[in-house]
């Protein structure tokens, strides 16, 4: 209101006969109006524009976009797992052993079609009967050659050792270009690491690795089974929370010796897994727990709805760590594996990425579940825990665990790289998104740890670095102030600015234009007057 010409003028709605022009405005009034308009414009120009500039300018930290994209395209790091295999041949001459090693390496190289996963043989110095520990010399597997009746190969169940016996006449001669024993060792090694190789090549192929690093020869069936296994296992986390629950359909049993059972049957496995994961454990007992399916016979399609998620106190995650649920259900239900037999075959099933349910049949007056009764459930849980963690299924336990380390490192490395790539593409795609310095910080930390992880891939350090890199990458990508702006295109700014500033701007601009026009008119009139005067 006050920006408008505040001097009211007489109306012209009187009949035209009595029409009278208003007297001209006084110069003082004109000057005053100019001042009024100027006062508004001064506030807009001196305070409004700096405030606008200061509060809406976007801070974009510098990101090493090209490097980030290189990481996600796999150009920055070739995931190579150089696995060293020691050959321990106490009974062979050094010369013979060297020769065998060379031939076996040739055979291996011929068999291998995947450059990322490379087996390199080395000869370990002959020692006494003391078994060589795999971790001592950094090799993933030790081959112990000993003369015997026939060619056999057995994996040591407690150490990463492959025992191979051979008939003494099978030793290749120094001049031979091939040998049956060498080929045999090579094929044994290959089959031992086949699953690991397949898993890693599957991981690489599902990520956006360039094709030259991609292994060929992954059959659709094996890819499918690997996909199934990957979807079954949980996302990697440094810590998992294990919840052991006893649910009973009636009032009994009301107590269980779960602590002793875990100590006895589960703890050894958890200890073995401790370099890769930490575990926290809690237990609970719930009486009168009604399952989601009330039938006595459980068919395959019932199993998925057996968990009564609404009533059973199974919290999705405690303290940030993902939870794995192990449920012992005491009731009279049985599982029907095939419709024909109608007899209970198995007693447990695994729920992908969630946990395991074990149906425990007990006499109805049992009040206490003993350690012995819990043995079978605990063993089942242990084996399911391996599946849930994504451990490969073949091979001896130490081999499976070292394979798990390598698979997880590769997985984390690839995930962190692809998160970096997504972040880089996001920064490129949305030029108006603000990038706080904490994101740049996270990115540089991620890349530092990725580099270290890439260099030490396959070892324990590699896993630790990959873990840090992945956590940092996730934090940088899900930065709170950026997520909000993700869906804020530039066009929306019109909707933000216009409703308020539009109506404010109209009188301001119109006032300025009118004033400018009047000023020009006055100047012209003055000039004309001056000219007339001169003429006179």
């Amino acid at each position: 209101m006050s920006t408008e010409n505040p001097s009211p003028l007489p109306s012209s709605d009187a009949p035209p006969s009595g029409f009278k022009n208003p007297p001209p405005e006084k110069p003082s009034d004109i000057r005053r109006r100019g001042y009024v308009i100027l006062s508004f414009w001064l506030i807009v120009a001196l305070l409004g524009l700096p405030i606008w500039w200061k509060t809406t300018s976007i801070y974009r930290a510098d990101l090493p976009l090209q490097e980030m994209l290189d990481w996600s395209d796999g150009k920055a790091c070739r995931p190579v797992f150089p696995l060293r295999i020691s050959i321990q041949a106490n009974s062979l001459q050094d010369q013979e052993a060297q020769n065998l090693l060379r031939l076996t390496q040739h055979a291996l190289d011929d068999l291998n079609d995947f450059a990322g996963h490379h087996l390199r043989l080395q000869l370990s110095p002959p020692v006494g009967d003391e078994p060589v520990r795999a971790t001592d010399n950094g090799s993933a597997l030790t081959i112990r050659l000993s003369p015997g009746e026939a060619t056999t190969a057995t994996l040591d169940p407690y150490e990463p050792i492959l025992d191979i016996t051979y008939p003494p006449n099978n030793i290749p001669s120094p001049t031979a270009s091939s040998s049956a024993l060498a080929t045999y060792i090579a094929s044994q090694l290959r089959s031992t690491f086949a699953e690991e190789q397949a898993t890693i090549s599957y991981l690489l192929s599902t990520n956006s690795m360039p094709s030259e690093h991609r292994p060929l020869g992954l059959s659709p069936e094996s890819a499918e089974s690997l996909a199934k296994r990957t979807t079954r296992s949980l996302k990697y986390a440094p810590t998992y929370h294990l919840t052991f629950s006893l649910f009973t359909s009636g009032p009994l049993p009301s107590s269980w010796d779960v602590e002793a059972a875990i100590e006895e049957y589960m703890k050894p496995v958890l200890d073995v897994l401790s370099p890769i994961h930490n575990f926290t454990i809690d237990t609970q007992v719930q009486l009168y727990a009604a399952p989601g399916v009330q039938n006595d016979l459980l068919y395959k399609q019932d199993l998925s709805s057996f968990i009564n998620a609404a009533e059973w106190p199974l919290s999705p995650s405690i303290g940030g760590a993902p939870t794995i649920n192990f449920i012992v259900f005491v009731g009279n239900q049985t599982i029907v594996t095939s419709p024909e037999t109608e007899s209970g075959g198995s007693q447990s099933w695994l729920i992908p990425q969630w946990g395991t349910v074990y149906l425990l049949a007990q006499p109805y007056d049992t009040t206490h579940v003993s350690v012995e009764t819990l043995k079978q459930p605990m063993l089942t849980f242990t084996s399911h825990l391996f599946s849930l963690l994504g451990t490969p299924q073949s091979g001896s336990l130490p081999l499976r665990l070292s394979t798990l380390t390598r698979i997880r490192s590769a997985d984390l490395l690839l995930r962190a790289s692809s998160t970096l790539g997504s972040l880089a593409r996001l920064a490129l795609a949305l030029p108006s998104i603000s990038i706080p310095s904490s994101v740049a910080d996270g990115v540089s930390k991620t890349m530092y740890h990725l580099r270290l992880a890439c260099d030490t891939l396959g070892g324990a350090d590699g896993l630790a670095h990959a873990r840090v890199a992945e956590a940092e990458a996730e934090r940088a990508f899900f930065e709170k102030s950026m997520v909000g702006q993700l869906f804020f295109p530039d066009e929306h700014k019109i909707a933000v600015y216009l409703p308020l500033l539009g109506p404010v701007a109209v009188p301001l601009i119109m006032g300025a234009i009118n004033e400018f026009k009047a000023w020009r008119k006055r100047r012209r009139e003055r000039a004309e007057k001056g000219a007339e005067k001169k003429k006179e």
């Binding site: 920006t3 505040p6 009211p8 809406t56 102030s481 308020l500």
Partner: protein, 424 residues
């Protein structure tokens, strides 16, 4: 109208107003607490409840700003700490608030009696005979339901009101120093009165005593502003000594500037900033504050001849557009409007304005109840009614502005008196 106001009538008015308040306080003990909790009366920066919280922390040697509830000036704390506990001996608090109201009325009375509204130093209205006496104006203020409700609700904005009215009273009675000190107190308590300094300086300049008058306005303004700066600096220093840190600055003025407490009130800011995108929040805070302050320059220049009219209109505008308005700000504006009795005939929408303000006053609490307690309405209900409320106030501001300008214009163009005019 009635020229002679006897001492008896004055005393009668004050005693009547005091007795009315005291009666409500004592005979209806539930009312004060009820009104204290009303959003129309208590805003986050004036609430008596929050003052109690700050006082409790202060008395227990904890910083009153811990916990983020108390957003008022630190100097309230020693003042209220002197009084006995408000919950066990509420009578002393009541008496303090009543005294503040009566002081405000006294200042208003002085302003009215000076006749500044109708005949300033540079302008004399042809209608100046038509005016109410100070008695009537003080009575209108004291018995205005908004004023009474604010007093009963013990909102600390009554102190600001008192300081502003005293600043104007000092200014019209030719005491620039007193006016500047008073406006500094008001600004110290609620920040926005600092925007009143330019017209107040002009008012003081116009009303200087002829004996020691400063000729030019610029040195005069510089002196006045330095007085304000000095007094505010002194008050800040005192606050620092009391609270022991500068924490009070972000907790009091910072909250007003950044609107971090979004408790609903009768103003326009809270709803807007609830809906605002976070990334634009600071920009629109700047826009709203600039909008609030941009009227000062324009109005001061345009109605240079009547600085009191500028002050009145600005108080009306602040009652609408400030971050945490309450009915207390409206009551201050409505206290000054009757000074312009002489231009009332020139106003065009008096009926509409009265109707809209009454409508909003009755429906506002009802809509708030529907939203918060009954749950059958939502925030839009209350916001809609506050829009109506502010529409009524802005109509009153515009109409008063129109009437004042028309009054000025008729002096210039006597032949147009009483004719229809059209604004272009």
């Amino acid at each position: 109208m009635d020229g002679k106001v006897t001492v008896g009538r004055t005393a009668g008015l004050y005693v009547g107003a005091a007795v009315l308040r005291l009666a409500i306080f004592t005979l209806l003990p539930g009312i004060p607490d009820l009104l204290t909790g009303r959003v129309e009366i208590s805003t986050p920066v004036t609430s008596f409840k929050r003052l109690q919280e700050g006082l409790f922390l202060y008395n227990h040697n904890v910083s009153p700003y811990d916990g983020g509830v108390y957003h008022q000036a630190p100097l309230f704390l020693p003042l209220f700490a002197l009084l006995p506990n408000a919950s066990s001996y509420p009578i002393f608090t009541y008496l303090l608030y009543i005294a503040v109201d009566l002081l405000s009325a006294g200042a208003l009375w002085k302003i009215a009696d000076s006749g500044e509204a109708a005949s300033s130093a540079l302008f004399t209205s042809p209608r100046k005979e038509r005016r109410w006496s100070g008695f009537v104006i003080a009575a209108v203020f004291l018995f205005n339901p908004f004023t009474v409700a604010t007093c009963i609700g013990r909102s600390t904005s009554v102190f600001t009101t008192c300081a502003i009215l005293h600043a104007i009273a000092k200014a019209v009675s030719g005491n620039p120093f007193g006016a500047m000190v008073a406006i500094s107190f008001a600004g110290y308590l609620s920040l926005y009165p600092f925007l009143l300094v330019p017209p107040l300086v002009l008012l003081c300049y116009d009303k200087q005593r002829s004996g020691r008058a400063t000729k030019s306005v610029i040195p005069f303004a510089a002196t006045s502003v330095s007085v304000v700066a000095g007094v505010v600096g002194f008050l800040f220093g005192m606050s620092y000594l009391i609270t022991g840190s500068w924490e009070f600055l972000p907790s009091t003025y910072g909250v007003q500037l950044t609107l971090s407490d979004l408790t609903p009130n009768v103003g326009l800011w809270w709803y807007f900033f609830i809906e605002m995108f976070d990334s634009f929040r600071s920009f629109f805070l700047g826009v709203f504050w600039l909008h609030l302050s941009c009227y000062v320059g324009g109005l001061t220049i345009r109605i240079r001849q009547q600085p009191l009219a500028v002050l009145t209109l600005l108080l009306g505008i602040f009652g609408i557009f400030k971050p945490y308005p309450s009915i207390s700000d409206t009551s201050l504006f409505l206290a000054l409007v009757p000074l312009y009795r002489h231009v009332f005939p020139l106003m065009r929408y008096t009926f509409v304005i009265a109707a809209v303000i009454l409508y909003a006053s009755f429906l506002g609490p009802a809509f708030y109840y529907l939203w918060i307690y009954a749950g059958s309405g939502n925030a839009n209900f209350f916001y809609a009614i506050t829009l109506v409320w502010n529409l009524g106030q802005s109509l009153l501001v515009c109409d008063l502005l129109f009437a004042v300008l028309r009054d000025e214009w008729e002096v210039e163009r006597p032949e147009m008196v009483g004719k229809e005019i059209r604004q272009i």
